[in-house]
Each structure stands twice: as structure tokens, then as C-alpha cells.
Assembly symmetry: C2
Homo-oligomer: 245 residues x 2
């Protein structure tokens, strides 16, 4: 693969295989490629080590071939689902990695807030659009989100995922989902005790998360919102805030 500086991906971490802990692919063995850098700064971000520019020195520039080499080594050379996350992976040049990996049978899911549309979204197997609710303190650019859905086109499965902390977040999710009635919806309770960027395995309030999960189920059932899925972050229930599992 010819490689140029323009192809270089800023990689925060590559780990796995482990099971996907959340959303549409929950429970599925997955290798995670987490890119560094984000155009958002959600107040409850659980991946600040891949977002805060103070950690920029830890984000290794890697060509798509080097990333694929590492994924291949982790999966024992067997095709596996690769989850591209961040930060916001949509601000990285991932088209070459996806094309090369797909040629070897790997499948690719990408999770983004939907603020930046890329033409290579069309080559994904799954595009998870996770617009950020009011509790994040971010503003949603609805035009950009719609451009992401359009960039994906008919190829990949496209779903909406919402982190929900409170009633205002839930109301936001309902309204956002109503803008895209064809897209399946995944709701998950937020982790209100996320790890700090240098604080692997920080203390976590599992009971608080389960309480919010129960509330979310009750809320969805009461509203007869049958198109929604309600799921926890399994990795959080299994491993707490520990990183790289």
C-alpha cells in the first residue's frame, strides 16, 4: 500500500478482540481502533485520553497498513469486526484502512457524533450516529447529521445511539429519532462516574447506572416507544472503568 502523510491516522489505542459492550453490535467480538482528536468536548466524556489535546503526544501517527497489521496480529489473522471510535474518527483519513481491511474480510463499524460527513461512510458495514444530548453541553448540527446519513447511502446499516442521563436527554432523543424515522434507535444510560484521562479503573457507581437503566426501560415502555432498544454499556458492568478490555 502506498502511504503518504495524508493517509496517516492519529491512533490513541488499538485493543481487543473483546466483546462490543454497547449498541447494535453488543456482545460481538470486536477489535477497537480508537483515534485521537475530537471536534466536541462533552462534559461527561468517558474517553478524554483520546479527546483532550494534552494527550496528543500519545496519539501515534500510523498509516493504514500499520493499523491493519496491528489489527491482524490481534485477531490472529482471522477476519473480525473492527470498531472505529474516538474521539471523533470521522476527522481521520480512514477510507484506505476500510478498503484494505474489507478486501481481507474484516468488517468495519464506525461511531461518531455525526458532525462531519465523509464519502467513505458508504464503505462501512455499520455507521453509528450518536448525536449528543443537552447534558453533554454540545449543540447538534442537524444539517451535518443528515449529511452523514446521506453519505452512508444504502450500503451500511445506519443506526442512532443516544446516551441518556436525564429527562431532557430523553426528550432530545425522542425528537432526534423523529427526524430520522427509518433509523433504528439505541438508548443507553450514561456513566456519571467516567474515568479521568489518566485514571484507568476509576471508581464507578454501578448501582446508579443500573438505576438509570431501569428508569430508561420504564420511560420507553410508558411511551410505547417500541422502535427503541435500551441497553447498558456491558463493558462497564463487567469491568467498570478499566481501559483496553
Amino acid at each position: 500500500m502506498t502511504q503518504t502523510a495524508q493517509d496517516e491516522i492519529r491512533v490513541s489505542e488499538i485493543f481487543g478482540p473483546t466483546i462490543q459492550g454497547e449498541g447494535a453490535l453488543i456482545g460481538q467480538p470486536t477489535v477497537f481502533v480508537r483515534t485521537g482528536g475530537c471536534d466536541y468536548r462533552c462534559v461527561w466524556c468517558d474517553s478524554l485520553h483520546a479527546v483532550d489535546r494534552r494527550f496528543r503526544a500519545d496519539w501515534l501517527p500510523m498509516g493504514p497498513g500499520a493499523v491493519l497489521d496491528r489489527v491482524r496480529a490481534l485477531s490472529g489473522g482471522l477476519p473480525v469486526m473492527v470498531s472505529l471510535s474516538g474521539g471523533n474518527p470521522a476527522i481521520q483519513p480512514l477510507g484506505g484502512l476500510i478498503a484494505a481491511g474489507k478486501a481481507e474480510g474484516y468488517r468495519f463499524a464506525l461511531e461518531t457524533q455525526g458532525s462531519v460527513a465523509r464519502d467513505w461512510f458508504a464503505d462501512l458495514d455499520l455507521l453509528v450516529l450518536s448525536p449528543k444530548p443537552p447534558s453533554s453541553a454540545m449543540e447538534t448540527d442537524w444539517e451535518a447529521l443528515r449529511a452523514c446519513v446521506e453519505a452512508a447511502g444504502p450500503g451500511p446499516r445506519v443506526v442512532l445511539k443516544f446516551v441518556v442521563f436525564d429527562e431532557a436527554d430523553y426528550t432530545y432523543a425522542r425528537a432526534a429519532a423523529a427526524r430520522f424515522p427509518a433509523l433504528p434507535v439505541y438508548l443507553q444510560p450514561g456513566n456519571h462516574t467516567p474515568p479521568g484521562p489518566q485514571d484507568d479503573n476509576a471508581r464507578i457507581d454501578i448501582n446508579g447506572i443500573l438505576q438509570r437503566l431501569r428508569w430508561l426501560v420504564d420511560r420507553v415502555v410508558a411511551d410505547h416507544w417500541f422502535a427503541a432498544h435500551v441497553l447498558p454499556q456491558l463493558h462497564v458492568l463487567i469491568w467498570g472503568n478499566k481501559r483496553g478490555v
Copy 2:
């Protein structure tokens, strides 16, 4: 709907909507129709109230119209996923219920051990075949299981689900899945502290279940079994052994 005694379904309980706690439809709002009676008697059965003939008097004979009326009342008349479980629902006459419900937009999933094949499996949206591993003390009839897959035909999604307690169960699941390489696989750790049939909300060992879940993830990852999904029983994590949630 014309109704005869032959149409009558022995119903243990109808409840919901709540989220599906396990397997391929995890997190999805669902109304559960649990039928009474089973041709198996797994030693760790978590639904003895629908299996043990001592509770037969609690299994109300209902025609398909009456069942659908109840489902409709629970879902507020809105089409929702209906999960047919048991006991072994395959020994009940469910074809009429499925046909009538589908005509109104309801979708149907059925979960069975795969010991009895029915032609109306072809009308399901999802058929979950859950053959029982050695820890159940049951023997698998592989011919019957294959007949279930064939009865389903190309219409419904068909998946395998295995409850796994130990290494022998895991080995069984691997071998069983190898017989049906086209079917997606769902593994879940068993609940070794199931409720007694009259013991709603019995004490449960959540830490033990989570420990078995971690072990199962490690096992699947070590074997590079990337076609498998590993999922807990969410309802058990959320509500313990409580019934009807």
C-alpha cells in the same frame, strides 16, 4: 376468529411490554407470552412455574383471539415484538395466534430447545433454537433440531442460543454450532441461583454470574470464535430473579 378446543393454548403468563433481556433481540421492547408445559426438565430451569406439572392448574387454556386481545391491551394496540416462550412453546398450537397477530403488524419470536418442529415456524420473524448443554442433564436430539431449522425455512431469522455454565457446556456449544455453521450464535452465562417456582424475587448471585460472563468472554476471545455473541441476561442484572418484568 373461529375457535376450537384444538386451538387452545396453555398460557402460564402474559406480561410486558418490557425489554427483551437476552439473545438476538436484547434491549428491544417485547410482550412475553409464556406457555405452560415442557418436554424437558433442565436441572437449572429458571421457569419451573411454566414447566412443572404441579403448576398445571395455573396454566389457563386460552384461544388465540383471547391471547391476542391481552397482548393488544398490554401494548396499547401498537404492534410490538411478541416473544413466545415457555416451557416449550413448540408443543402448543401457536400457528393461529401468529397468523392473526402478523395481520395486525405484530412480530413474533419463539424460543425453544428444538425438540419439536412445527410447520408454523416458517411464519415467525425469529426462531431461537436453544439446545440444552450437559449441565441441564438433558440429551439433544440432533435430528429434531435439524428438523426445526428446516421447518423454519428461508422466512425467519434463525439463531442458536446456548446457556453456558462450565467448560463442558462451552465445548458442547462449540460442537453444536459447528453442525449449523450458517446460524449466528448467542452464548449466555447460566443463572446458578434460579428462582424456585413459587419464589418470586429469590436471592441471586450477580457477582457469580458476572464472573462467568467474564470467563465466557475470555474463552470466546481465546478461541477466536468471532461468530459468537456473548451476552448476559439483562433482566437478571436489572431485576434479579423477579418475575413479570
